[in-house]
């Protein structure tokens, strides 16, 4: 019984970390259909900025986090407007090659500016203290990640489903020409959406740093993990990403408790099974 509770608690905590580091990609790759393998680079940028602002500049954690997320979003929007925009009509292979190249650029820059060591974002005392859950304790930071994940989920559902911007975005992605003809500012919609995707990537980099420490090779190391979450969750479905992240996180955690000798076998096996069962994503029924 304790074991089951442990698996669920650690599984949900880990799954939420997976969700928070993937949610940015489920916007840029999923919603915008842009093969954005530089997602990890934006996540790292957010993390490094927060580490620098909070660690070296002594900003309070909350403000440092906010500033780092906003700056990463701006960087994403600027890059989209200047460079990435030209790639939408190119083939997927060209998008892959370009964004991987961009990733290497970020890796080298991080190495040059901050060196090869792991960078830490100092946590305030209230996030360091373990919280008593009755049967065991959980670090407060993990609870913050769970709360942030739920908040992102609710906000994105609201914005995409209910707001004018959400309608514009869906129209723009489905048919850019028609959307532009209807007076939707498509360029602005793309730049803003990419910026939001980058900002969420940055948020994931910061909040996920407790489990995935920041270092120059961060963007490459965790790329497979986030791609799996988005692929299993389904392109463009943020709720799908959340469900996939929680399911995969719980499976991975259970295998660590019960069968760690098998490594990550169950994680990837379940990915394969999920994809075979629902190729379009967990929440999308198979199309005939």
């Amino acid at each position: 019984m304790t074991l089951l509770a442990n698996i669920l608690i650690d599984g949900i905590a880990y799954g939420m970390v997976l969700f928070i580091i993937s949610v940015g990609l489920s916007i840029t790759l999923g919603l915008m259909r842009f093969v954005n393998l530089a997602h990890g680079a934006f996540a790292m940028t957010g993390g490094y900025l927060a580490a620098w602002l909070v660690g070296a500049q002594g900003w309070p954690f909350g403000w440092g986090l906010l500033a780092a997320v906003v700056l990463t979003g701006l960087l994403g929007a600027v890059l989209e407007a200047l460079v990435l925009r030209r790639l939408y009509r190119r083939s997927e292979l060209e998008q892959v090659l370009f964004t991987i190249g961009l990733t290497f650029l970020f890796v080298a820059t991080a190495n040059l500016l901050a060196g090869p060591e792991v960078q830490l974002i100092p946590l305030p005392a209230w996030l360091k203290t373990p919280v008593d859950l009755g049967i065991r304790t959980l670090p407060a930071q993990r609870l913050l990640v769970i709360a942030a994940g739920l908040a992102v989920l609710a906000l994105s559902a609201l914005v995409l489903g209910r707001s004018r911007f959400g309608i514009w975005l869906r129209a723009t992605v489905d048919n850019t020409g028609a959307a532009a003809a209807l007076g939707i500012p498509v360029k602005w919609v793309y730049a803003a959406t990419f910026g939001v995707g980058a900002a969420l990537a940055g948020l994931g980099g910061i909040l996920g740093a407790e489990l995935m420490p920041l270092e120059p090779y961060y963007p490459i190391k965790y790329l497979v993990l986030v791609l799996v979450v988005v692929a299993v969750g389904g392109m463009g479905s943020i709720t799908g990403s959340a469900v996939a992240a929680l399911a995969l996180g719980t499976i991975e955690t259970a295998s660590k408790y019960l069968a760690s000798d098998w490594g990550s076998l169950f994680f990837f096996l379940s990915m394969a099974l999920f994809l075979a069962w629902r190729p379009q994503g967990l929440l999308v029924a198979r199309r005939a």
Binding site: T2, N6, I7, D10, A13, Y14, V17, N111, G115, P116, E117, V118, L120, P122, P130, R136, T137, P139, E210, L211, M212, P213, E215, P216, Y217, Y222, E252, T253, K256, Y257, S260, D261, G263, S264
Partner: protein, 389 residues
């Protein structure tokens, strides 16, 4: 008149050439990672090796030293073997040093055996490498060498039940085997052997398992960097220390990562052959020499491995008068004994591995609030227990 001048010029040229031949330098090829995720190892080894030569006045045994640096990258045996071949055939080096990864170190065996080129391993820590050629010498450590004292320490503290938690790859399994062998010999019991997937990022489940096992200590092996930080965090956050489960590690609190742990590292126990904070005259001289060479270099086992490796090469050059004679150089190396920054050391003539003290260390706050590995107990003159059982 013109003829005479030409004669004189020719004679001078001949004399000049002879002089040049005499002052020809000894070439040392160093293979280490200088690019990619492991580049810091290369930088530290370079700092250690260059600092050693500088500390000897720029010459070793009266010979100029010419370093030839080659990039090992990451674990890539075929590539390393090619690099060694090029060093021997094209650059005509007299000695080879370096190598971080064990498979890479093993791969150069045929090259050094055939060309009789002494190779001083600065890091690669798998026991059996030195058995693969007669021209290997090692100035780092092996997992068995530091793990056997860890098991002895656990037994001496009266622990009966210990859990091992290692990263699931060759060195981790080596470490697990070493600990189990020695601990059970001393009457203890390894109640659970947890192997953690190499790509693990969330260590909380393992920490919970260790806590639930009712063990008195956990012997840990993790590769440096993120996994290390992740495990120690999980160890603290899940209250293993409060539960009285002692952390027994080896290289986990290495100086390269140490400051990143913050206060969560305080009190961690490790058994290792070198601490940058060692209080000895030889170590202070070493630290000063490296800092002079490269201000940013971190003083750790990679730096000291290169420093002592260059000492061995120094003595081999001395024994051969700077001429290329692999056998004579090796014969001299096997009898070496000296005071290293890590304490008294010698080369074991049979295994050609370094015999050295292993220290029980506790992480403490040193000067200026920086974390240090404080040596609290010595296990003197440890051989490579992997080969000498």
């Amino acid at each position: 008149m013109g003829m005479k001048m030409n004669w004189l010029g020719a004679a001078l040229a001949v004399v000049g050439m002879a002089g040049a031949a005499q002052a020809q330098s000894v070439k040392v090829g160093i293979i280490a990672p200088f690019s990619g995720p492991f580049a810091h190892y290369g930088a530290l080894m370079k700092a250690g090796a260059e600092a050693y030569v500088a500390s000897q006045g720029g010459k070793l045994a009266g010979q100029n030293i010419e370093f030839v640096w080659r990039d090992e990258g990451g674990p890539n045996p075929a590539n390393t073997r090619t690099l060694a071949q090029e060093l021997v055939v094209k650059d005509k080096v007299d000695y080879i040093g370096g190598i971080v990864f064990s498979p890479n170190a093993s791969a150069v065996a045929p090259v050094i055996q055939e060309s009789k080129t002494p190779m001083v391993i600065f890091n690669a820590a798998t026991s059996d490498i030195t058995t693969k050629s007669d021209y290997y010498i090692r100035t780092s450590y092996t997992l068995w060498q530091v793990t056997v004292p860890a098991a002895q320490h656990a037994a001496k503290k009266g622990y009966k039940r210990v859990v091992t938690a290692v990263s699931d790859y060759a060195p981790g399994i080596d470490a697990e085997t070493a600990f189990k062998a020695e601990f059970s010999k001393l009457g203890g019991q390894v109640t659970e052997s947890i192997r953690m997937p190499v790509r693990t990022t969330d260590f909380a489940p393992f920490a919970q398992r260790i806590k639930a096992s009712g063990a008195q200590a956990v012997y840990v092996f993790l590769p440096g960097g993120p996994p290390n930080l992740g495990f120690v965090k999980a160890y603290q956050e899940n209250g293993l220390r409060q539960a009285g489960i002692e952390f027994l590690g080896t290289a986990e609190t290495d100086e390269f990562d140490l400051q990143k742990f913050g206060d969560s590292a305080l009190g961690l126990t490790t058994l290792f052959h070198y601490s940058g904070a060692r209080d000895s005259a030889a170590n202070k001289a070493f630290v000063a020499a490296v800092n002079k060479q490269n201000k940013e270099a971190i003083i750790n086992y990679a730096t000291v491995g290169a420093w002592d490796g260059m000492h061995v090469i120094h003595k081999m050059i001395e024994a051969t008068g700077g001429k290329r004679d692999g056998d004579k150089a090796m014969a001299a190396a096997k009898t070496l004994k000296w005071e290293s920054p890590r304490g008294p050391v010698s080369i074991d003539p049979v295994t050609r591995h370094i015999t050295q003290n292993v220290y029980l260390r506790v992480v403490e706050k040193g000067q200026g609030g920086l974390l240090i590995n404080k040596e609290v107990q010595t296990f003197p003159a440890q051989v490579d227990h992997g080969l000498t059982k």
